[in-house]
Symmetry: C2
Subunit: 416 residues, 2 copies
């Protein structure tokens, strides 16, 4: 790392989002900016959707004499004074250099690295608000799980962010539960990051917040539906350490959070979506009392179909080893089939002889299951392509959800 | 299958071994010989190590008036009259065409397909007893889990059988628990089978129990230690349907037991050994309370090291997809890390703060753990090759077992 001292500028990092997972990731990022002063500015901005919270009497921060405990307070004030996100990551001490900021535009200003970690339905709106108000050469990392699949194809959330903002954006995904990561229980995660190469011989512009017209690459991207899009991308000024795999590892890797950075953004993103469909089937099989071998068979077939889906629809842009070797692939699928909410609700639906929607309604406090939704989306796409038969497990999950197949029929349906 | 009617001879099948797993496999094989009369003789011989058993009063076969219930009886007589292996697969009805035979030599006589399913420590002795007393063109399938690893290399049990008997022998392995297979709970399994090719233009001898000197191939095999051995192999007479992947599938596949036949015997065999080492580490991590993500991380690394071990030591003869796509690979590892005995004993050893040997002594009724033994064997081999560092998880398991590393040190030791 010694040679990094040559750079005149350090990266400023902002985390956009402060829910359970957003806060856990912001904690990691702030720990790492503090311990890598040659690369990063110490303070990390975290954009917080402002809301009123009250510190509960059971909290260690409760002090009847404190102004913070006189009725509802701004969440940002509470975070910045107690260094705890009392609402979304209770009981976890946050680094003091993590600054909660209620202004989205202010939080992202002048940051060279933007970490996106918010519910996927807010991406378009949030990116619209900061478009043109960020550094034109900023780089992004999306921690939003899954992909946006519809009849036309699959779109990566990282690409949606990149297109709206005109920046390059990678993706982070893995076998992680926010609360456990907050508690510093050991886990692993994967980052996919593969920006286009700039010609190193071309002159590089000095730092210019308004954006230079030099050193622009037109970045061509073909999505699943074959649609070609061009993204204009600006080179990072040479005053900054390049945002490469080593720098991202420095920003996200911790002794309790092991990071592997690969180039396969699509693979890293896709695993986090498709594993939920597999987890639904695994839950059914366990609910039926068929045992661990049957569940392992479902997971084996699920992993195969994940690899095949990647190969079929992302072609050469995907590395199928991401599914079999990375935390974002096989490990995340294993965790989701062990105790994730898709697994649990599917299992309960068999045990209680209820529809999965009924279980969802009583067990999830109004939240919705990702696996059933993804099964529908994936099927609408496979059906349009005439490829349902090549993905028997994904198709079986869809048909059982629709009431057109029974769980007992799954083994023979997926038989080789 | 219609064209199979052209063959004048049917295959006679014998199962050597009648324990828990041996009886479950024999049940499957006998069901399939009955339902594929064009390929197989209906009756299946099962060699049973003769012992005396008493039918318990709780058994449905107990009848105080029956001669079978007047004191200890031969196990073979009980099996042949009750069609149940009351000692090793209690409560499971066996097909009437499965014949228990106490004479090893008589059971294997004239059989073209020999299925080996007995504890691995008996292989050499049992094969020695039938050497020269089987059809010289018989083919074998070993259902014995694991491989024989020592300082010099890894040897497949199927190869040991093949060498002693002078026949070709494949291997069956998968995510299977004998009792669940007996109960016809759905699971999957893999068969590795890849005999050398005979020159189809050469004249093929008529059936000759004494063996023809024509149509012999000298089958070269290089094992892990680089040792080259030649096995003489005799072609199956053309009166028989060739023992190919389709015939093996007909013999082992059931609606509740899905078989995939591949060519990779080493991969199918190796997975069943190495997964036990991974299961020990998974048990420790869960015993420590580190949660499902940490366990998934261990399994991810374990799968990677299984693939790497295969690549390093079996080279081109192994297909690494066996580990990531087959029941004998990833699925079997998943099951073993869910509730197998290696996982359970390792977990208990942490929870009780006992050595794994102490847990083994109190929990396993005198049986020994495969995972700890394989960890020692694998390490002696890796150490001699100077390759411990390239297999950090396998090495960590060994060192923790030896008391030279703590479980807490594993995450940083296996860090990428």
């Amino acid at each position: 790392m010694g040679s990094l001292g040559q750079y005149q500028q350090k990266h400023k990092v902002t985390v956009v989002g402060s829910g359970n997972w957003g806060t856990a990731i912001a904690k990691i990022v702030a720990e790492n900016t503090a311990s890598n002063p040659a690369l990063f500015e110490k303070d990390v901005q975290m954009w917080v959707y402002e809301e009123k919270v009250e510190i509960s009497k059971s909290s260690k921060h409760y002090d009847p004499a404190s102004p913070l405990c006189q009725g509802p307070q701004n969440l940002t004030d509470v975070i910045n004074q107690t260094h705890e996100n009392v609402k979304y990551l209770e009981g976890i001490a946050l680094p003091k250099n993590l600054i909660a900021n209620p202004s989205l535009v202010d939080a992202v200003r002048d940051s060279t690295i933007l970490v996106f970690n918010l519910p996927h339905q807010f991406i378009v709106n949030i990116c619209g608000q900061i478009k043109g108000k960020i550094l034109p050469y900023a780089r992004g990392v999306s921690c939003i799980k899954g992909v946006d699949v519809n009849e036309e194809g699959a779109h990566l959330f990282s690409e949606t962010i990149g297109k709206i903002l005109g920046i390059y954006c990678g993706a982070l995904s893995g076998a992680n539960i926010a609360t456990e990561v907050g508690q510093e229980k050991w886990s692993e995660s994967s980052i996919g990051y593969d920006p286009p190469h700039f010609d190193s011989k071309a002159p590089t512009p000095a730092r210019s917040p308004s954006g230079s017209t030099e050193n622009i690459v037109h970045y061509e991207h073909k999505d699943v539906s074959g649609q070609l899009s061009k993204v204009k991308l600006q080179a990072l000024p040479t005053e900054y350490p390049p945002v490469d795999h080593a720098v991202l590892k420095s920003l996200f890797h911790r002794p309790y959070f092991h990071i592997s950075v690969v180039s396969d953004v699509a693979g890293v993103s896709l695993g986090g979506a498709l594993k939920n469909v597999v987890a639904v089937a695994a839950g059914w099989v366990i609910g039926k009392g068929w045992g661990d071998n049957a569940k392992a068979a479902i997971m084996r077939v699920g992993l195969l179909e994940m690899v095949k889906f990647g190969e079929r629809f992302f072609g050469a842009t995907i590395n199928t080893k991401t599914f079999t070797e990375e935390s974002a692939g096989v490990a995340d699928m294993i965790t989701s089939c062990s105790g994730g909410r898709n697994f649990r609700c599917a299992k309960l639906s068999v045990e209680r002889n209820q529809s999965i929607e009924q279980v969802e309604a009583t067990e999830l406090n109004g939240q919705s299951l990702q696996g059933t939704l993804t099964a529908l989306e994936v099927n609408s796409f496979l059906k349009k392509q005439g490829l349902e038969e090549e993905f028997p497990l994904f198709t079986a999950v869809y048909r059982v959800l629709q009431g057109n197949m029974t769980i007992d029929e799954i083994p023979s349906f997926i038989e080789r």
